[in-house]
């Protein structure tokens, strides 16, 4: 029976020759991930239920990134609980302050996810690793606890929507963020509910790994179970530099069934912004020039990677952010941070009037490091613009690419990077 890429990976991990959409399966896991918010709940459940060993100490990743460096005493206690658990169970991939980065930038960078693998993470943006051709999906803390104990998780096999990408993006003003915001605007925040989003087509080759990681990251914002990219030379070049273990590349069958097929012409994608309070409320950046932000955030698991930093630095170089704007730049990992120093981006950001933070999820989820006051407006390269997401319940968030965010910081209003003066 013909299968989608996701179905093939799930079948292999369930020990089955084939699976069909809707089938309930138990699948073996190659990686189980948690952070400092979700892991404490998982650890409590793990202990409460009397488990005394983990399935594989090398296949669990604990990343202290959300409220770390600790934002307050309670957050410190949560990190401490994770630290003790990691030590007691000899968890190999435990990342604390000094080594940690934002989890979904860190795991691919460290070679902890490879094509064809099955990954669960107690964080909704775990779908990011679909960019590498892995099946990867967000779950809750109980699934994480069960995953740590047994190395397995239950899934309902999803059907899929296929996105056939053609053409080429108009660099340097348009990037992966604009594509995924465009798609979410088109299909809606529940447009892919319970389904896979499979990305393929001749346009793939023009998308960098950072573009793909950003796009797969936001599959959850369309309700998807996972987003997944066909593996090509770009993927293999990235993975072969980082992964030493064997992995298997799966491809969708030519006659696989899809619920829907969309063709996306990348050359037609405009700089796109999602307006409050849903990622589906998309408009072209040019339509929003009357919006005056108080704060600009460039970073997160969606857009905190080196090419995002580069895009922002190229716009900010030799310029200064507008009066009244607070611009916070957050490289997603220590490696990205160091690369930004070596390449002169950090100087550029500071000279332009931005502040540069150590890696953290902080402001994206209204944790710390950039909370909004009542009625304040942010332009952010993050992934959600829900009510109160970044602070006060009356604050507003506009989601954008690093290019649009940097241009908006300079101009003091939402700005298409082509219109910057």
């Amino acid at each position: 029976m013909a299968m989608t890429m996701t179905q093939k990976i799930l079948a292999a991990h369930a020990g089955l020759d084939s699976v069909r959409a809707g089938q309930l399966i138990m699948a073996k896991l190659d990686m189980v991930l948690g952070n400092d918010i979700t892991s404490p709940v998982a650890i409590n459940e793990f202990k409460k239920n009397g488990f005394d060993s983990v399935f594989d100490k090398e296949k669990i990743s604990l990343v202290m990134d959300h409220f770390a460096p600790n934002k307050d005493i309670k957050a410190a206690e949560q990190c401490k609980q994770c630290r003790i658990f990691a030590k007691n169970f000899s968890i190999k991939n435990y990342y604390d302050v000094g080594e940690m980065g934002i989890e979904h930038a860190l795991l691919p960078e460290k070679g902890l996810v490879a094509p064809g693998e099955a990954v669960i993470g107690a964080d909704s943006h775990t779908c990011t690793y679909g960019a590498l051709g892995a099946f990867s999906t967000g779950v809750g803390s109980t699934d994480m606890a069960a995953g740590m104990a047994t190395g397995e998780a239950w899934f309902k096999v999803p059907s899929a929507i296929k996105f056939e990408l053609v053409g080429e993006l108009r660099r340097p003003f348009v990037s992966g963020k604009d594509v995924i915001l465009h798609i979410i605007g088109m299909i809606g925040v529940d447009g892919a509910l319970y389904k896979s989003m499979e990305f393929t087509g001749s346009g793939l080759k023009s998308l960098t790994m950072d573009d793909r990681l950003c796009m797969a990251n936001m599959a959850i914002e369309a309700g998807a179970k996972n987003g997944i990219f066909e593996v090509d030379e770009v993927t293999l070049a990235y993975v072969n530099e980082r992964v030493t273990r064997d992995f298997k590349v799966y491809r969708a069958d030519d006659d696989a069934e899809y619920d829907e097929v969309y063709t996306i012409d990348l050359s037609k994608i405009e700089p796109t912004v999602a307006c409050p309070h849903l990622p589906e409320n998309t408009k072209e950046a040019r339509e929003l020039s009357s919006i005056i932000p108080d704060q600009v955030v460039i970073g997160s698991c969606t857009n905190g990677r080196l090419s995002d930093m580069k895009a922002a630095a190229e716009i900010l170089r030799g310029r200064h952010i507008a009066e009244g704007i607070r611009c916070i730049v957050i490289p997603a990992t220590q490696k990205i941070y160091k690369d930004c120093i070596a390449l002169g981006y950090i100087d550029t950001f500071i000279d332009a009037g931005c502040v540069v933070s150590t890696p953290t999820c902080g402001p994206c989820l209204g944790g710390y490091m950039g909370i909004l006051a009542a009625d304040e407006i942010a332009v952010a390269t993050t992934n959600r613009n829900f009510v109160g997401r970044m602070g006060h319940v009356t604050s507003k968030i506009y989601l954008a690419s690093p290019e649009v965010a940097a241009a908006s910081a300079v101009m003091g209003r939402i700005c298409d990077p082509r219109d910057i003066k």
Partner: protein
């Protein structure tokens, strides 16, 4: 298995950031989370909600974060079931895994109004609206899910395996 209670009604895309804002995620204490449940969308919910009450939402209920704190806050606040047109998938599995009853029923989601008195028969999926004298039919859980709920959550079902 049955429940009966009064309805708190919300619209589409009720996200996990309004169910339990991230500013309270520095704790996993269920009672503390419940005290702030729905705060950014319905300020007085925690004070108003009574044991057995039912939340009714629209499409894509529970979208956003994977935080299990969201269904946990709802369950601990005393809510006996969430009915919606559709659920976001992580919220759906988290609810099952922690033993919060949830039912997908577009008709109930549309017709039930705030304050209605509703009872639910989980074995048959029949939802009765006593205020309006109407009944709606939801799909009862598949056996696989029933087993998890019968074992009082995923982890117990694993231990019993």
């Amino acid at each position: 298995m049955n429940t009966k209670g009064y309805v708190h009604k919300y619209g589409d895309n009720v996200d996990t950031d309004v169910i339990i804002p991230a500013r309270y995620l520095n704790t996993s204490d269920a009672k503390e989370l419940a005290a702030h449940c729905m705060e950014d969308i319905d300020k007085d919910f925690a004070a108003r909600v009574k044991a057995g009450d039912i939340i009714v939402g629209g499409a894509n209920f529970g979208c956003g974060s994977s935080r299990e704190h969201a269904p946990l806050a709802i369950k601990t606040s005393g809510v006996s079931c969430v009915i919606a047109k559709t659920f976001a998938r992580i919220f759906f599995r988290n609810s099952i895994n922690i033993g919060l009853a949830i039912l997908e029923c577009p008709e109930a989601s549309e017709k039930i109004e705030n304050g209605d008195e509703v009872s639910i028969d989980f074995d048959t999926g029949v939802i009765t609206n006593h205020t309006k004298n109407e009944t709606y039919k939801a799909e009862p859980f598949p056996d696989f899910v029933k087993n998890i709920i019968k074992s009082d959550g995923l982890l117990n079902s694993i231990k019993n395996r």
